[in-house]
Symmetry: C2
Subunit: 147 residues, 2 copies
């Protein structure tokens, strides 16, 4: 991955706060919005989810996930040019998790730590696919993703 692409990817992942998490539910696709946090080197991504949520039930059945992070729609003329990346990987439930960093990023989420049904899941990337513009598609390995 060239340094310009790496810079775009960093701007995207570090600049956004919400992602769309893809899981398999009964053999069919499911997608739901989640908050996310990335390790500084993108070796792992974290979500903090309730076991009452469908995506959590799905990950308990099958840890394979896709996490899509897209530039927020800024109402530009052509929204198809919004940059986006999809990270595919394996999700595993964590015993504890990066609570302090999460609360620094999402202070309003403190309430969820008082609820017994929430826990962190770690997503370890297998690969990623970056769409940086029309026809500017980059397939990225987990090794390349790690900056």
């Amino acid at each position: 991955m060239d340094s310009e692409t790496a810079g775009l990817l960093k701007k995207l992942i570090d600049g956004e706060r919400v992602a769309h998490l893809g899981t398999v539910r009964g053999g069919a696709p499911m997608v739901s919005m989640t908050l996310y946090m990335a390790e500084r080197d993108y070796s792992a991504f974290y979500v903090h989810v309730s076991r009452l949520a469908w995506h959590t039930q799905d990950m308990m059945q099958d840890g394979r996930v896709a996490l899509s992070i897209s530039e927020s729609d800024d109402r530009r003329a052509d929204p198809f040019t919004l940059m986006r990346v999809t990270i595919r990987g394996e999700a595993t439930q964590m015993i504890s998790g990066p609570k302090d960093a999460w609360l620094t990023r999402f202070p309003e989420q403190a309430i969820n730590f008082t609820l017994a049904d929430f826990s962190f899941w770690q997503i370890t990337p297998r690969d990623a696919r970056l769409v940086a513009g029309f026809g500017r598609i980059h397939n990225i390995s987990a090794a390349e993703l790690k900056q």
Copy 2:
């Protein structure tokens, strides 16, 4: 669905322009950002996609999809309160499609109609799941979705 919920759903679907499309790829989840357009009564949703795109290849293998539409992140204190809906359904490739309405909605997309590899797909909803706020989750049938 009560009229307040129906109003929120309408505001969401009519107000946004991009969605996240979930497909199954080799048995695993895939999610990618797409532009979308809805029938006025939400009996169908449309995407205009290239057969070179992974999601199109996936839909050709298995038409089951999930289309997630979320409020754009407006940088509010708690992004977990962003409203979102996931429509699950069946995607089928169309011979033609709603080209004029699509171009009214996305004028900059005209170029894609000069490319042979783009076509419309229609997503017929099977059900939907609306998250209108913390704990405000509504499971919606296709019949209820149709307004």
